[in-house]
Amino acid sequence: MTDADRIRPGVVRTIVVTELRRFKRPWVPLALLVWILVSVWRTVYGAETDGTPEVISSTAYVVRVNPETSDAMYAVFEYLSVWWHVNSIHLLVPLVGLVLGYELIVTERERGRLQTSFLLPARRSTMIVGWYIARGVVLAVVLTVPLVVGWVLITSRFETGDPVAYAIFTVATVGYGLAWLSIGVAVSAAAQSARQAATVVAVLYCYQLVPIHHLIVSGDPLYQLQLLDPRHAYLTVATAPYEHLFPRLHTNVAHDVYNWESTRWRTTFTSEEIPAYLSWPVGVAILLSWIVLPLVYAARNVADTELVSQ
């Protein structure tokens, strides 16, 4: 590689800034507002406890084994219902990532705009990384601002609250979004048309609506494969600060659904030990893999692709 072939930071910065400028669209602040409203809703109306020991609210992760933990932790995990809930950002974050990513390449190719950038003296992979960084920034803002608003509300309602733990939860959430952004970009690179990409994205999104966490913790035979699911990695990382409060393995002995919006789980522990494959470093590694590998695939695919079809 010659000096001229090396990635130049100034060039990457130009690509990122230009891509960010393209997001001067009315729907961006609108999307941000929607997320803030979701955040307010969950933190104000979702963080309820029923006062019963050994009962958790909305998530199989959170076990109220210590009364003193009836605080901000619950509010945090109101974001993370693993059951079929529209109120869980666990289910909504992938939508943001996929929407931001799936049109990045295929739509631009259809509109003839890939040539506008790819005819310039920068590697196609550099362009894609620049675009990804820019969209990642948009995604991070869209996810972080509502969570910061949520944090303000949480600390106003609860006496305790660990800002470090909340920061880890926030970073994990952004990382989870970046993973789905990467997946969206990979779909965009592989698809022959925007319609095809949209179809694949819809299928992926429907798949990720299927709850898998309870299959994992209940010892489903396919759990080892499901451990690679980015959702599980995200939950593992997001809950890492609370490992001292609840184990990763437990069984559901009672599952009462009071109504569509309110789920209560009673759990008993099968183990006090956290298995290595459920530890946060493994979760981080899996999440990073979901960020990097689809992006590498997209860059390689585009490097070998013709920019127009006839």
């Binding site: 060039v11 230009t18 705009r113």
Partner: protein, 315 residues
């Protein structure tokens, strides 16, 4: 001018600025171009001429690494466009036929983008002024007319003063004023030492600008035509000339002018200089009764080629 191609010796006169070497491109079920070989010399303006579907855009697509050739290769100053695409992109400014700007970016932001990637410190406004878009610099490109869009694309192609300019149908959709602007810019680039390759099916622009023309038909290079060859123009005037007007000898491109049996015979560097000669005679107070131009014109060649390639059974 980037200067790179010159400092590394690749702009040696013996190396073509642009070279197609037996390029074939097949799409599913059809061959778009078949064994096209062209060598464009440094500093030359070369026109790719042909009817719609002749393969002009495909050939340029291969040169710019937008399309992969099925066979053969394309090179810019010796750099293979497929394996050395960065080197090609550094010395090449291009305007693809389907150039589409980013709707939400302004013209100035487009130029800032290209200047940033090319690491060119020239203020973007200067490029916009060159294509007469300074007034619309802060207007979103999505609101530009087709002509403005083409001029924006041309401004982007000029960033960094490239050694090679590749323009695919640069006159498409342009009004006469914009077309004249593009012609001037092409001439300026050539005067600065750039090599220009452009495609068009508009003979007038090709004839006015190009040193050489390659005529593509049905994917094959059927003819190469040198436009700089001397043209001999014979003109009959009313009243008949008694002497060669001095203004004729001062016309650009006129190398010699004589009277033969009261007909003015003018030797021109190029056939397109005929227009200047005629207008000069008219301005001198003579009516032009008859003009004969010796030599095969581009229009005749093009028509011959296209007619020859039309399959009578399908017409």
């Amino acid at each position: 001018m980037t200067g790179e191609s010159r400092t590394d010796g690749t702009s040696d006169e013996t190396i073509p600025a642009i070279e197609f070497d037996g390029v074939t491109k097949e799409f599913t079920g059809r061959t778009a171009i078949d064994g096209v070989s062209i060598a464009v010399r440094p500093g030359e303006i070369y026109g790719l001429l042909g009817p719609n579907g002749a393969g002009k855009t495909t050939a340029i697509g291969v040169l710019l690494n937008v399309l992969r050739p099925t066979e053969g290769s394309a090179r810019v100053f010796g750099h293979d466009s497929q394996t050395d695409e960065l080197a090609v992109a550094r010395v090449t400014g291009s305007l693809p036929e389907g150039f589409t700007p980013y709707d939400t970016l302004t013209g100035r932001e487009h130029l800032e983008f290209v200047c940033g990637v090319r690491e060119d410190d020239t203020p973007p406004g200067e490029y916009l002024e060159r294509v007469d878009l300074a007034d619309a610099a802060d207007q979103r490109a999505g609101t530009y007319s087709r002509g403005m869009t083409r001029r924006l694309g041309l401004a982007m192609a000029l960033v960094g003063d490239p050694d090679v300019l590749v323009l695919d149908e640069p006159f498409a959709g342009l009004d006469p004023t914009s077309a004249q602007l593009v012609r001037s810019l092409v001439c300026e680039q050539r005067a600065g030492g750039s090599t220009v390759l452009f495609s068009s099916h508009q003979l007038a622009h090709v004839q006015e600008l190009c040193d050489r023309v390659g005529i593509l038909s049905a994917g094959t290079l059927v003819d190469e035509h040198i436009l700089s060859e001397t043209a001999r123009i014979s003109i009959t005037t009313d009243p008949p000339l008694s002497d060669v007007p001095r203004e004729i000898l001062e016309c650009d491109g006129v190398t010699e002018a004589t009277l033969e049996s009261e007909r003015l015979v003018v030797e021109c560097e190029r056939a397109r200089d005929r227009g200047v000669v005629v207008s000069t005679i008219v301005e001198a107070g003579y009516a032009v009764l008859d003009i004969d131009t010796e030599g095969v014109s581009l229009e005749e060649t093009f028509t011959d080629v296209v007619d020859r390639d039309v399959d009578p059974s399908t017409s």
